[in-house]
């Protein structure tokens, strides 16, 4: 699947939706709860994950995989946990600032 900046991705099994902040610099398989994510406009059968272990994916958090360079923003949360080529994708540290505007 072509993953470009701004692309919207979704989990076929759960409610997770993602937006690509930074595309990967090398090919990578991004999964949610072990299932490869799809284009958000594609068919999403739903039904939930067979393996629901992990922390799930939280709305508004950025997930970045250093090895492949991919970074996504979670637009809709869900129980599935993200992995890139099987590596769990960590939340990118937020740097909240005092309100300036």
């Amino acid at each position: 699947m072509d993953i470009k900046a701004g692309s919207r991705l979704a989990c076929p099994e759960c409610s997770v939706e993602l937006v690509v902040v930074r595309p990967p610099s090398s090919a990578v398989v991004l999964t949610c709860g072990g299932v490869e994510v799809v284009d958000a406009a594609a068919d999403r059968p739903g039904g939930g994950h067979a393996d629901a272990s992990g922390d799930g994916t939280l709305v508004g958090k950025r997930y970045a995989d250093d090895d492949s360079g991919i970074e996504v923003l979670c637009a809709k949360p869900g129980p599935g946990t993200l992995a890139a080529d099987g590596r769990e994708v960590p939340i990118k540290g937020a740097k909240p600032l005092p309100s300036s505007d």
Partner: protein
């Protein structure tokens, strides 16, 4: 990433939380999102190529901004107070765009493309449209076109792409991080980068925005109390008016957690008085440019508190714009492009994902990605950025570089002076000589000789103005930037 995603996420997560209040009307996140989508479809059905906004601040502003984003069209806010002569070419340059306007008559417009601002809040507007919104808006597309106020003359169209603005927001704001009772009072104009960045940041954080259509010190103070405002942003001229209006009595704004200021240089005497009057409020100085998608450096509440408590280092830093944001790099260079060491003043260059540096005519970003701000400044040993002013405003007297702001600050410290402008006027002997124009405080008077003595007590003699004149007021841009070229023209004319 597309700007509309910022609202879409808040709407699906926060739903009925109030998003925007103007007058007696409040829209929830879900209502704002629905209105923006409806208007987006309408704009597309009209065949619009852009969305021009030519009006004041109220709930129709966020609807228009996010409506443009949902439609994948550039949003182009114009200063509706401009005279016909200045407004018409800007409207004509955006032919094909729908024009959201205060009144039906907009100079240079196609009447078919004019929509009254109040209509956007009306559910019947666009209700019948069956146009589908684009499923994908490229982050490379232009999201916002801003005509920079420009203290130097003809306005330039700065282009901000979706990726610049979203990089700024997701890099600096925690999604839905605001508590439900938080509310931000906004008085900066919609055609200023601060007004736009403010909207995006507040919507993403889940904070309610309260708009005031025009600024009045008493109304502003009343609104702080009545709407239980927790965050407010002002330009220096507004804070100066509030301080003057309070006349020494406490601001009595118990809910106000943060007061941020920016848009122009803040005179230190105004800031010091404000710190005294707003007890319990944290002050934040934000520095940024249109071309950098707003804020790139912040001086936070701790820095202000330490200065107010008398810490000598913090007092010096009160004159800085604070620390550069994570994700932004800064370099100070000399006229020949050599990178200067800590503490050495020169030209300020910036680099980062939120930095656009692009105009309608092309980009000014160099091969390594650096944007020349054309501001002069320096960095101290702890990464605090000091801005002296626009490089073009620097006075060169007998080979010495003199920042007008330093002299203006001294003049404003005199108890009879409320405003001051310092410019360089051509001089055969020195290249440039320093001239000052001052505005007296109501009911006060002072002689020119006393002002010369006052300057000499506080400045080196080479920085003492050789000419001082009085005026009733000084020319400023809407955000309070001094128009030095007009001051100079006045002195030379």
């Amino acid at each position: 990433m597309n700007l509309s995603l910022l609202l879409e996420m808040s709407a699906s997560t926060l739903e009925d939380r109030p998003a925007v209040t103007s007058g007696s009307r409040t829209l929830s996140y879900a209502q704002l999102d629905a209105a923006a989508r409806r208007c987006a479809a309408k704009f597309l059905s009209m065949g619009a190529t852009g969305v021009v906004y030519c009006g004041t601040n109220d709930a129709s502003f966020p609807i228009a901004v996010f409506g443009a984003a949902y439609a994948g069209l550039p949003f182009i806010p114009l200063n509706y107070r401009l005279g016909e002569e200045q407004l018409q070419p800007l409207v004509e340059a955006n032919r094909g765009a729908v024009i959201i306007a205060e009144t039906a008559k907009v100079p240079g417009s196609d009447p078919e493309m004019v929509v009254l601002r109040s209509t956007l809040l009306d559910a019947s507007f666009a209700s019948a449209s069956d146009v589908e919104l684009p499923p994908f808006v490229d982050p490379e597309d232009v999201a916002i076109v801003l005509y920079t106020s420009g203290t130097s003359g003809t306005p330039k169209a700065a282009l901000l792409r979706h990726r610049h603005l979203t990089a700024y927001v997701i890099g600096t704001v925690e999604f839905a991080g605001a508590e439900p009772e938080q509310a931000a009072l906004v008085t900066v104009p919609p055609y200023h980068i601060a007004g736009l960045a403010n909207l995006l940041s507040n919507m993403y954080s889940g904070r309610r925005i309260v708009y005031l259509e025009s600024f009045d010190a008493q109304v502003w103070l009343d609104t702080l109390r009545n709407e239980r405002i927790t965050q407010a942003m002002v330009v220096p001229t507004m804070l100066a008016r509030v301080v003057q209006h309070l006349d020494g009595s406490p601001a009595d704004a118990p809910t106000l957690a943060t007061l941020s200021y920016g848009g122009a240089r803040m005179p230190l005497p105004v800031l010091e008085q404000a710190l005294e009057l707003f007890v319990g409020t944290g002050f934040v100085n934000a520095y940024g440019l249109t071309e950098t998608s707003s804020t790139i450096a912040l001086l936070g509440p701790e820095d202000h508190d330490a200065a107010f408590a008398g810490d000598p280092v913090a007092k010096v830093r009160l004159g800085s714009v604070g620390k550069v944001l994570p994700g932004i790099e800064v370099e100070v260079r000399d006229e020949d492009g050599n990178v200067l060491a800590v503490g050495e003043p020169g030209l300020v260059f910036l680099r980062g994902e939120q930095v656009s540096g692009e105009y309608d005519g092309g980009s000014v970003i160099d091969a390594e990605g650096w944007f020349p701000t054309k501001d002069r400044g320096w960095i101290d040993g702890d990464d605090y950025l000091f801005i002296e002013g626009r490089a073009d405003d620097t006075i060169i007297r007998g080979g010495e570089n003199i920042a007008p702001a330093e002299i203006e600050d001294v003049l404003r410290r005199h108890e009879a002076i409320v405003d001051a402008a310092v410019v360089g006027i051509p001089d055969d002997e020195w290249g440039q000589q320093i001239a000052a124009v001052v505005v007296l405080a109501p009911g006060k008077s002072v002689g020119v000789d006393e002002l010369y003595d006052f300057c000499q007590q506080h400045l080196r003699s080479s920085k003492t103005p050789y000419r001082i004149e009085f005026r009733d007021e000084l020319p400023h841009t809407p955000t309070g930037k001094l128009l030095r070229r007009e001051v100079l023209a006045d002195l030379l004319g």
